[in-house]
Symmetry: C3
Subunit: 461 residues, 3 copies
């Protein structure tokens, strides 16, 4: 991919800027492709992702039962247009794939405008924008266009051509498993089912691809990472149906969507609400300096809906900038290459990597000198001239020592102390070097909620 | 009673207005009767309630030991007045029963004003209002009058007549048990011990009577409903003493008091603080559009004091508009027929019915397709053309599916989703029709606090 | 000591004022003494405390291993100065013991100003103040002076004399155990290791001494009280190392520091965060009428750092006015006799005593008539004429009755009711007198968090 590494310890602005530009270029390349929930556009998208990371592509036959659903027929488009009496294409799939309602069935014929109108979708409140519409599960056809374009169509007879195919074929899924030291997995999932929409699908594809590439360059990954590039809803349902056993390995997860606009960050919590991924994302955003908000889980949005369905209840949150449906350009032709910026993409990559760094670095230790403070001064960890205030690095040492009682993870300590996680992790490393901390054998038994109060129950004889 | 039904699904303004007017008329009829904690005035009040609902009247003999108390002597009044030297009644029970201190013992004699003053009560800060005073448990006599009336009394000798009787008789309780499909009961309790006070006692009597009538007209009550029309404190203590076994059936309860004034609603929580009745009342008020406040339990107020004493600790809250002691007219002659309005009474009835509707409709279900979302589209539960935002009814379906994991009741789901309970109930009904939900056999084991977080502990292997 | 008693039931302003003046005088007497973590200055300080309370003095030899530390050499100063070319003492320990860096090793010699500067400490941002510096664990010497004084020193050669001794000797601890009816202890700890600093160390010493004297005059102490007068950090570490078994008796504790300035009160919670001492301090400050804030535990400050290290995790908070490091004069010559006031000292003593009164008075009872309210009227506990509002004393009776279900302590009841603890305690006493409460045998099993909600789980069959 590139010769730089977007690294663990926070990347320099220049590196992020370059990654942002490359991601924007990648989005530009993918933009014209006609994606949907199935079809050759999805294959082409996955092929190009596969040029950057070693993607495995799965083809699942139409008709395969998947949970409560069935893999649909495969849909492809050769051409689609509406011609006026003079033979001019007044609505043309070649100009923009948004003009054709996704999953339109083949049709060819002529009809007066009055009848044609039943098949036309516009956005009267945004007269210059073409809406994005789908009809996956009802066999029909339709076109989308700008309301202003509809307004100038004259009465008369129009020729309609929907040269599509809808036949038994396959649903195409992209998957990349990057193995780490342990089998426990972090799931990164993005949807690839939208045609020429830049923020809604392509931004997530780009950030997930660059994330995968960055993590692949690390030798010392603790977790395994599973990247899914899949059509929304039916894609995750299909993957879950075919891989139910593997879901037990997923300890943390993120769906990545709408991460290219300049809006502030939004983290949507997993259904559990206090999973480690939720706390990690909140901690990172809180210290990131970026405007952000955290919203509770709701059963609407992207594939976290499926991962967080009650039968799976996986700890999967969603990272976005302006979330779906909350920006004006959502599901319109205005969600284009201007809406996403290299800077925003770079920041989204950086925040996502910081969340992963936190998950990688989180651990629970036992203070080896739990009675009283150990004498830091003779170990060179404390200033020798007293009387002045301490530096933040020294506070971090004191916090980690005080709370490393086998009941508080480093993330707990960051939350309680208010210190940025990397400072806490660094303090733990220094204390480990001096033998003042040791690994905690019972780490996996800890409660998710490691408030100080917890050890009233557990830490006292 | 009336030919309309104040129905389950929210009543039309006109129906509520009519019910409000009828309740106000009923209050007007009951207003002149001299009620106290015992006596013929209470019997007459219960007789008139009994003309509207099939009330059972219990007579408990004076001297009966009831918990830490003893049923007092019965008190009745034939006449009471103070005459001046000219023989004019300057304070007259016939003009208003508030003039006589309740439970005044018989007395007859003459005395100078200076001595009489020790038996007179006024409200100097409200010189035109007569206060309401009682002396149930100390044998004495007294009169209440407006401070301005006291001010114009001239020195001289006055004739006092307190023609009352205080003898072994009975305490009179009114009770109506409306049986439902299950033995579990909802308790509705109001006090009937105040003489001519409209908001404080009569408003509660009216709303409880109309509630009983409305519920009696329903064929499909799940709960049984127990209505108590009783004197405050000694009435509930007597009922509890004689019916201790029955208290185990009470799963929810409300005292109803001061519900006729135009002040905003007040819900006072049960001692438990998070009983289902508390959450139901808060949920209903929150979505009612009415101004309201929720206050914590305190061991002062109406009969919830007794129901929530530590040995019973029943889940009984109190619904009021302006609560006792918080409106200027409280326990004065200004708590009269002008203070209560048909509109306020209608609203109070409506809110109370909505709380009961919620209790009736609350249940816990299991999603029969818990893995992934079920395909709502092919069941006609989801729009077939994608791309637009969902309607609130569809959000309700998604919420109910996502949280129906046997750990969340519909009330939990309403609280977490922010949706109004009837929408959630309706969504559950649609899902039940399509076999997407099933009854949850362990419903009674659920914790009162059904936060999403709960299933981290319970819902994971 | 004095013939007045700063008593249990809140002291009169005059008594507090007199105690404040006496404490200020005591601080004045102790001010000139050169204290450090060891040495004769500490012995003299303890001797003078011992004139007021029967202090036990422990001498712990240098070199004794104490937890992760070693008792340091003993340090004493005969003289220390810097003379200019004319023989004038330009920096003189005799003028203020702050001029010598604490634990400066012996040195004698001459050197040019440029070289001398490496041993001089000033506060450029406060040019008239001398800073306070220590070098306990690195052998070096140095002087502190006002930046303005340094500015006028002329180039040239200076004579330096540090006539100190640093040799195997002892660390000196002061301890006073005041026995009570039970072995459970309240720990009161203050540091004695600062030279001429009035608020930082002397104010705590004075308040702790007066507290001890006040408690010693009480015949009916429930708890035992252990007072420690010790050098910061090494003192508590030494005491903990030598008395580990005794720490199990410590049920509540306070470090007392910086309690003489006129700033608002600060209570720093114990590491547990909801220990009874934390709740007691918050309750007292809340009702005290004094401005105050409550801060969470942090592993920095005074000896609570050691008491709250994870291996001990004792319930020890810290009571201060403006906390260490938060006032400009902290660790400078401006922390002098003007910074501390008799009024502030008196208030600090009063608040500390109120916290102890609460701990002494807290208990959990069972209502002997838990079903319904007992009839308070016939016991003279309730007004006989009804209709008016109750007094706060009667509310307190109702609250104590309602919540005395063996699951709520009086502190719980004060917190839930919003009533001041002494009112709640008084109500309990009246109810005990009338047999309406009885001691609760399972008191020690109660949870620290006695919210009403607690008895949903525990108090129901």
């Amino acid at each position: 991919m590139n010769d730089h590494v977007v690294g663990r310890e926070g990347s320099t602005p220049r590196v992020l800027e370059r990654a942002g530009s490359e991601m924007h270029q990648f989005i530009q390349d993918l933009f014209p492709i006609c994606r949907s929930i199935t079809g050759n556009g999805n294959r082409e998208t996955l092929r190009r992702i596969g040029q950057r990371i070693p993607l495995e592509v799965h083809e699942v036959p139409s008709g395969t039962p998947v949970l409560d659903w069935t893999v649909p027929k495969e849909w492809n488009v050769r051409d689609a247009y509406i011609k006026d009496g003079s033979g001019r294409r007044v609505v043309d799939f070649q100009a923009s794939n948004l003009h054709l309602v996704s999953y339109s069935v083949p049709f060819s014929g002529t009809m007066p405008l009055a009848e044609l109108r039943h098949h036309l979708f516009t956005l009267p409140e945004q007269p210059d924008w073409t809406p994005y519409r789908t009809s996956y599960y009802e066999e029909s056809w339709g076109f989308c266009l700008a309301d202003r374009e509809l307004g100038i169509l004259e009465d008369g007879t129009y020729e309609v051509c929907v040269d599509t195919s809808l036949h038994d074929g396959h649903l195409t899924l992209g998957e990349y498993l990057l193995e780490g030291q342990i089998e426990d997995e972090v799931l990164i999932s993005c949807h690839i089912c939208h045609p020429s929409l830049a923020n809604d699908n392509l931004s997530g594809i780009a950030v997930a691809t660059w994330l995968a590439d960055s993590l692949a360059r690390r030798a010392d990954r603790r977790f395994s990472y599973r990247f899914l590039f899949i059509p929304g809803t039916i894609g995750s349902i299909t993957w879950l149906a075919l891989n139910e056993e593997k879901t037990k390995r997923i300890k943390h997860g993120l769906t990545v969507a709408c991460v290219g606009d300049i809006g502030s960050f939004t983290y949507k919590k997993s259904r559990r609400g206090d999973a480690e991924i939720d706390r990690a994302a909140i901690q990172v955003l809180h210290h990131s300096g970026f405007d952000h908000k955290v919203v509770d889980f709701s059963p609407y949005g992207y594939d976290e809906r499926q991962y967080c369905s009650p039968g799976f209840n996986l700890p999967v949150g969603c990272i976005s900038r302006t979330p779906h449906g909350k920006y004006r350009e959502y599901h319109t032709s205005a969600d284009n290459l201007d809406l996403v910026t290299p800077k925003a993409l770079g920041e989204s990559l950086s925040v996502s990597l910081s969340i992963i760094d936190l998950l990688e670095g989180n651990a629970t230790y036992a203070n080896t000198n739990p009675k009283g403070e150990p004498q830091l001064g003779r170990r060179g960890l404390y200033p020798s001239v007293g009387g002045k205030d301490l530096e933040v690095e020294q506070f971090a040492l004191l916090w980690v020592l005080n709370l490393s009682d086998t009941h508080h993870s480093l993330l707990d300590i960051a939350e309680i102390s208010g210190l940025d996680f990397p400072l806490v992790r660094q303090a733990a490393d220094r204390l480990l070097q001096h033998g003042l901390l040791e690994a905690c054998p019972t780490e996996e038994k800890l409660s998710a909620d490691g408030r100080i109060q917890a050890d009233i129950d557990q830490g006292r004889p």
